[in-house]
Symmetry: C3
Subunit: 344 residues, 3 copies
């Protein structure tokens, strides 16, 4: 597959400056070759561009004159580059059909043009929409509904009754709809609380490898349209995540927390249970959110890294901060009295 720069402009817009090169692939500037297209995210990388063997480049109007290579000038070079890459790298879809080793319940309903891989199991009453791919070893529980254009990579598990919208992509090792963690103490042992809710996933959601989303205890756990979850994330029962919210790897969200739309969470952030996070909140990596966040903005709680020696010297004072604050107050009182004594 090969495109000319003018093909991209015809499909995606932007202004072509220079020769209408044939482009075979997208690439990073450091490794790009003469038939590849790179992009300049920031004028500060101009040196990398100057040193690059890249054939052509996507860049912003203010950077257009930093090179005399063939280039496409657009307002958002990163997004444009992503769209070019999508044109050059369409997903390689397995053939339609149901592999003879797949075990599909007699009353499950599969669209004509699905692709069901080897050793898949599909439970009673499940419904799989048009164009959906379910790769080897996936387990689809009874009554599960998966919309059109979905893609489940190998060894995904969807427990009974969960629903996925259109164009939902789920990577290997993901578990959707396992029981939430609900236990009542009976005086001697934990009594398990049945988890009778479901997981409801909207359209255009992508979920990264080995992430887990638990079913609701009573109501449902909900991921709205456009949510993006990276790998190794834990979403507990009855969490609600608003549309287009994105979470980086290893985030944990405890039960019944309601997260708004257009939020972002850095890696390993941890959100406690029964909180409300409004729309357009950004939580930075490693931050534990222990109370509701009712105002949009960026929030952090990272302990700064230091050399071991410096940390030993400094961190021990954290256990005595209150005493330090009392001593400071006392000093202010004494020096205030001295000033008064001296008529200062």
């Amino acid at each position: 597959m090969s495109f000319r720069l003018s093909d991209f402009v015809a499909k995606l817009g932007g202004e072509l400056v220079g020769d209408d090169l044939a482009i075979r692939q997208v690439a990073a500037l450091e490794t790009a070759r003469a038939d590849e297209l790179g992009f300049l995210a920031n004028p500060k990388y101009r040196k990398q561009l100057a040193d690059s063997a890249v054939g052509a480049v996507v860049l912003a109007p203010e950077a257009s004159e930093l090179t005399d290579k063939p280039r496409i000038v657009v307002k958002n070079p990163y997004l444009y580059f992503a769209k070019v890459s999508a044109l050059l790298n369409p997903p390689v879809r397995p053939d339609n059909g149901v592999h003879p080793s797949a075990i599909v319940a007699p009353d499950a309903s599969l669209a004509d043009d699905v692709s069901i891989g080897p050793y898949v199991t599909i439970g009673a009453g499940a419904r799989i929409g048009s164009g959906t791919v379910i790769e080897a070893g996936c387990r689809i529980g009874a009554g599960v509904e998966i919309g059109e254009g979905g893609w489940l990579y190998p060894n995904v598990v969807i427990y009974h009754g969960c629903q996925l919208g259109q164009r939902v992509t789920i990577h290997s090792g993901v578990v959707i709809g396992a029981d939430g963690f609900g236990n009542a103490w009976d005086g001697e042992a934990w009594f398990k609380i049945p988890q009778i809710g479901r997981v409801l996933i909207g359209n255009d959601v992508e979920i990264g490898a080995s992430t887990t989303v638990d079913r609701g205890a009573l109501g449902d756990t909900v991921l709205e349209d456009g949510v993006r979850l990276d790998n190794q994330i834990q979403i507990a029962h009855n969490v609600h995540i608003g549309k287009h919210t994105a979470m980086a790897g290893c985030v944990g969200v405890a039960g019944s927390t309601h997260i708004g739309a257009y939020c972002t969470f850095g890696g390993s952030a941890m959100i406690l249970g029964h909180l409300e996070i409004v729309d357009r909140v950004n939580v930075m990596a490693g931050t534990l959110v222990g109370k509701s966040v009712l105002k949009p903005g960026t929030y952090v709680g990272q302990y700064p890294v230091q050399s071991h020696e410096d940390w030993l010297a400094n961190a021990s004072h954290l256990r005595r901060l209150d005493a330090m604050a009392q001593r400071l107050k006392e000093l202010e009182r004494r020096i205030g009295r001295q000033d008064a004594d001296q008529g200062a």
Copy 2:
């Protein structure tokens, strides 16, 4: 399935006040309908109860007069509600039998009334107890023993030689008995230390999706009776967890740590290796435990979240806390001297 309130009282105790309603399901107050049973955990939610269409409610004696709906009055409404839910929502067990696609070693020993799903593999000498369910794609290693009434959801892996007690529930993606992380540095590279111990799991244990419990290096890794582990937890080799201890999602426990009974761990807590945590210790979410905890109680080490601007202003001082403490001490010395000079 439908019960009357008096059926619950007959089975579970409590006092019925008002009409003996037929109840179809349990529900949260916000969404409950007239044939559903809710519960009031705390009198402060009385407004929600007043606004609810719920048919009947479980509540504590001191809250009994907050409503005139039919109600069951009990000391622990949450536990009672869980038990009602368990009556109304018995697990839907797959049929007994061994699916023809399951591969069972000739010398493995299966009780008559097990349910072994498609594409399961069961290794040499394994023993599966009465009533146990093993769903599709599970891998049971050689010599594994699983007691009565167990339930393994799809795609669980149990390595060779591990033992599970009675009524153990394990959710999808869990890996029990993989090698612990043992490496000795030989001057040029890591030399792998064989992990020859096992994982021993007691009775009435539940383990959440994608949790991993490593086999011991020499001795065994042990989870005692009644332990409850949520999702995405990592239990390293030779850890010992006492009975009825519960851990929320994403907790990590490093090697050879001994944790007592009746402990609780909040999400993402991290416990370092070779420590001792006594019985009845509660570790809050996100807390790193770096030394042994020899006294029962609640322990925390959470860095508070702030707006990004506030964090930038405050967190930098953490790198200079020791200097601040020295300056404070010096000020106290100087002001003490001044007071002395003035005969104060």
Copy 3:
């Protein structure tokens, strides 16, 4: 299988002192029996050794006289003990052959002496090297290359095009080569950036259960020779990990970070994206690394654990550290002025 102490010395070196005992197994001192070999890592455990029923022991020259049991004296007892354990506990390899239920693409290339388990799927053009074991339920994508002497435990997934070197061990639930987390905001929704790189894994690498290593966005994600990853780790796209670096459980590394050789990372450490960590850096458990580390050494950022009461008193001041620092400065100014006034 049984060895005498002199067999170990013949193969592995060291000096035998005392009787040439027959040894059946290695064991911890606490549980060891008369036909087992223990080791003394540190003279401070001499009491344990004195109380032990162990038959013989490996120890360092300076500890040789702490016991009169038969013993092997070597400079590095821990490494020696590991090597003895490897002799006594060779892995139990499944038989060679391709299980009839394995589905292998016609153009995949398998060495003669591989062991391919039940229900494995191997994609088009994949190549599996001599002696490699692939256990039940593994998914090997198209074009994947796995070198000689590899071992994939059950239910591992390797996406298309990834490469593993010689003697690579991968535990259950691991996912190699899933899409990295790349999304460009288009003003209304996230646009997925195709992830067209691969994962390249060197020789003698071991990866623990449920760890995920994402494929590169443009270039490749790389684990060099001898890397050791524990369980539940997340390695994002385009990360590069230098040779013999080891990471404990639950570590996360964000995209495009370059980590040097001979580094170690404690459990739950989190490394942000686009950073450089040089060779021989040790990051302690629970530490968030938010900037590049350009000097070898040990780095920490752990918030100390306290009792709940103490934490409540102390942690609140973290939100006012900057104000405390200003007040301290002001006090220094005032007391300086007073000293000046008094001609001190």
